[in-house]
Symmetry: C2
Subunit: 252 residues, 2 copies
């Protein structure tokens, strides 16, 4: 076989998306036979694929002749795409504002499974070595955000979620679970949490929640500042973060 591999059969998945794209192009519902013709694809295959696409809700039958158009599910997927990138774009703007007004490093953080990750970061005017890089996965209990992001879970759910070793601090000390839970509850009530960093000795971390439409804290905005800056500007930084978090929140 040569570089130009000759394939006699197309993958179902490729043809499936061809069907979806085609319907998008023509902007109308069409019958299976029409679609098959338009794509130059084998009829029996197209019938089969349309069947499974309908089962998946990616297509909907629109009339008694069996015409199909794009289905509800593609719409919901589209919404998810938009929400994700809207949030990312808006969050990036917020970080710009926060860092512009405070000169401190700001971050947009989320959970990634049972770990904490920095999704976006804007470095302050005096960038120092931040504990975690963007995309790095960190133990949730080591972070200020890790108090806010679990606020909607029960004690047991929190215990189940976090691996036991994540309660052991970088310096080897064991965290107290009950004290951690108490901090989570307090952070949830106050819509804010801050503490001297656990992973280094010279920074203070501020975190404010971003809520999704169901009121769950789905992300946080953070400021990482040298301890003395943090002390001097505590109220300012807290207010800046909270109002930015409110702006990104979807709650009505």
């Amino acid at each position: 076989m040569t570089e130009q591999q000759i394939r006699k059969r197309a993958r179902g998945i490729d043809r499936a998306f061809d069907i979806l794209d085609h319907l998008r192009d023509v902007k109308t519902s069409q019958r299976p036979a029409e679609i098959a013709q338009a794509l130059g694809a084998p009829t029996s295959t197209v019938y089969d694929l349309i069947g499974t696409l309908v089962d998946h809700g990616m297509l909907e039958v629109t009339d008694a002749h069996g015409s199909v158009f794009l289905g509800r599910r593609v719409y919901f997927l589209g919404l998810a795409y938009r929400d994700y990138f809207d949030l990312t774009r808006q969050a990036a703007g917020m970080l710009d504002e926060i860092t512009a007004s405070t000169k401190e490093t700001s971050q947009f953080c989320m959970l990634d499974g049972n770990k904490y990750t920095v999704a976006l970061q804007r470095e302050g005017s005096r960038p120092f070595r931040i504990s975690a890089d963007v995309g790095e996965r960190t133990a949730i209990p080591w972070t200020a955000s890790g108090r806010l992001l679990l606020g909607h879970l029960s004690d047991q759910e929190i215990r189940d979620l976090i691996p036991a070793e994540d309660f052991i601090l970088p310096d080897g000390r064991q965290m107290d679970f009950d004290a951690y839970i108490a901090e989570i509850r307090r952070a949830h009530d106050e819509r804010f949490f801050s503490f001297d960093s656990i992973v280094d000795t010279f920074t203070h971390c501020f975190a404010a929640p971003v809520y999704d439409q169901s009121g769950i804290c789905s992300a946080t905005l953070c400021i990482v500042a040298p301890k003395d800056d943090a002390r001097k500007n505590y109220d300012l930084y807290k207010n800046v973060l909270q109002s930015a978090g409110d702006k990104l929140s979807k709650t009505a």
Copy 2:
């Protein structure tokens, strides 16, 4: 094999949508390995599928670790879904209004390949036998809408689109192509066309364009009225249709 067929392999298409749905659920980008674990699906398969989904633009790589989230294309598909059903819903409302104010039968019509079809219909107070039922495919030149819907095409494109036999009227007479083109150009300029029905002897058909965002007449609103009603209310019907068409049009 029994009723409960045991399958050892899943279809790629099914797993592909599982991946999309999963990302919608978690609302974050994830790495292939995570997704495979979350779905309990074979790793090698998930890697392969994610590759093709990325090729299709259904997924996008969001960071240097290879994390993926829903891609641009799902968004565009979602938009197409929304536009289609928005237009359908709004058009149905318009037909209600038109028929309420005129008592005549109103229709929402589109092209379906190289044929004309009635997509929606609201029957007037004295329903008579309409030439074409909803969903029926009719020769484009036989219809009033068939003047408006081709307004964006060149003479040659029109000639290529319409099968020769569609220029033969139901009574066997041959239509003159140049005269037909002239009517199309005039209808396009006037944003309106009406004539005594070709397919029956007692109705007059009115048609006004609905434009999509690129200014192409993608649909029409029509009134099918008995000839004498049509004569008496010509200006009223024309105005009602045109303003309704303007409301549905996407042009800025």
